[in-house]
């Protein structure tokens, strides 16, 4: 514990990003928990879960409120991005380069280095601020939100949309909404959870997205290129922040149950899919 106190902490996520992520967690869990029983209607656990959350029509209301929260997140995100692009004039910086979350030529090199490391032929790759799978996750979140919003609205107002589209467009929307949801939920609850929280070196929770803080050691281990870059530019110390024990404890209290709920729901979904096939 004594060494931990002396640990240097650096700010990785600003308050804006942390609050956005928290909003996203709440809305995502609300959406998945009230939506998934519908996709798995034949299962007993689906009946139980749907009734637990209030059944029909309460679950429908929760689902729509959470959808509204997701739209709020999307709106905040695009307001944030347009503020950077239009007012700060830093559009080039967030769209291209080391600080950008968009895919870069560099990511191809990173992927190759990663595969080499995974197969045991090379050292751990030296990633920069955003690792390529984090970029995939970000981009699939953007794409997924658009798909879910469009199809969700079609299912919410079917008669309005049938002015422009035939009735079976709503059926396509339902199929897309369902399988995009299964894809997103299963992805977040397994791949995202493993990549960020459940790897052996940081299980059970990576607090960075909740406290915003990463230790210098961690930063150097995980994103050595960024660490070196900031150190050489002499701006590393501007990211120094004091520890926040309360926030750290809170993030554990919130994140561990959410991780468990997500993993349990995924195991139910996967076992149902397999049982259906048999």
């Amino acid at each position: 514990m004594a060494t931990k106190k002396e640990e240097k902490l650096y700010l990785r996520f600003t308050l804006f990003h942390r609050v956005s992520h928290l909003l996203l967690i709440i809305s995502f869990f609300g959406l998945v928990l009230t939506g998934m029983p519908l996709a798995f209607q034949g299962q007993d656990w689906a009946r139980w879960l749907y009734a637990l959350l209030g059944g029909y029509p309460t679950c429908g209301y929760i689902h729509r409120i959470c959808a509204g929260m997701t739209f709020l997140c999307a709106f905040l995100h695009f307001a944030y991005v347009s503020n950077i692009v239009l007012r700060k004039g830093e559009g080039a910086k967030i769209m291209w380069g080391v600080e950008s979350i968009m895919l870069q030529p560099r990511d191809v090199v990173d992927i190759l280095a990663d595969v080499k490391w995974l197969l045991g032929f090379g050292p751990r790759p030296a990633f920069d601020r955003w690792i390529y799978w984090e970029k995939f996750e970000y981009l699939s979140l953007m794409w997924g939100t658009i798909v879910m919003a469009v199809t969700g609205f079609m299912l919410w107002f079917p008669t309005t949309f049938s002015i422009a589209f035939p009735g079976w467009a709503m059926d396509i929307a339902l199929v897309a909404h369902r399988y995009e949801a299964i894809l997103a939920a299963a992805f977040v609850f397994t791949i995202h959870f493993i990549h960020t929280h459940l790897l052996p070196d940081r299980i059970p929770v990576d607090e960075a997205m909740f406290t915003g803080r990463v230790s210098g050691e961690e930063l150097q281990h995980e994103r050595p290129t960024q660490y070196k870059r900031l150190l050489e530019a002499g701006i590393l110390e501007t990211y120094r922040v004091p520890p926040n024990r309360t926030l750290s404890l809170l993030s554990k209290i919130v994140a561990v149950p959410l991780l468990l709920i997500g993993l349990m729901l995924t195991s139910l979904m996967v076992s149902s899919l397999i049982l259906d096939l048999i």
Binding site: W168, I172, H195
Partner: protein, 324 residues
Amino acid sequence: MHIKKWAGICRNVMLWVLPLFFSLSGGQVLAQEMEDCMECHGDSTKVSKVPRIERETGEVKVVSMLVDKDAFMHSAHGLSKEGFTCTDCHQDLSGVYGEHAALLQPVDCVTFCHDDPGASYLEGSHVGHMKEKEKEKKRAPPTCKECHIGQNSMRETPVKDDPFHRGQINQMCSGCHEEYKLTYCTNLHGQLASLGYCNTDIANCSDCHGGHEILKSEDPASQVGKKHIVETCNKCHKGADQKFVKHIAHPKFKRPELYKDLLKALKDRDLKKIASDPQSYLMLIFLMYMGIIGFTFTAFGTHSLLMWFRILQDERKGEDGHGH
């Protein structure tokens, strides 16, 4: 004189007073109250469980002769203003007190009361078809009592909008139309019904296809036929128009028959048929997502697993992995 007078009085009494007495009190003497039946049927020590053979399916069921009066009073007949009692339906017990024969005449719902939906049901093409298939399906067409059955007992005939009753109808229909039930559950209406929510705002089989007079969907006169479908959808979806009703109520993308049909159409080079059927588009979207899901989890699943082991191995070696 006296004798004659008394004889006259006696005759008058015989002729007028006695019949009058019986006719006034007769109502109470002859007609049975529910309580008369409940004296035994409300007491578990006086009635037993008896086997009953379901005549439509040949199933043998053990039913209790105990009557739950409260449940009856909440059923369609109990709630009715007419104040029905037991013998209104069990007419062969009218005027019978005490022990009675174990086998009663089956209750006739149609002849005296429900001739209106009864006739249209019995003469409808659906029942005709069911009669044709009777031997093949090993069951006779359902009687009134089979569909309008109560939650605990046949006699607790539910009211029209009772959610249990509405769910029961789905069950009954899927007894023969298993395929359609499965595809219905792939659709939003069926998803909710399958989760056990069968209120009137969630369409069940009969909301769309009709209750007593069920016609083939190709028949223009059917509730889901050309003539009436807009009207049928409008019952819930106000403002539904000709475009809206092109909705696929029974998506088949999970059913093997669809793929067999498609293969057949492909063999016949009938691309027009495939392109004109919106079911093909649903199937495309479904297959596309199966592909995306399969690819994503194979790629990232392998990645996560490998990464897990690599990190453990690096830790065991005591390196931070960067080779320094």
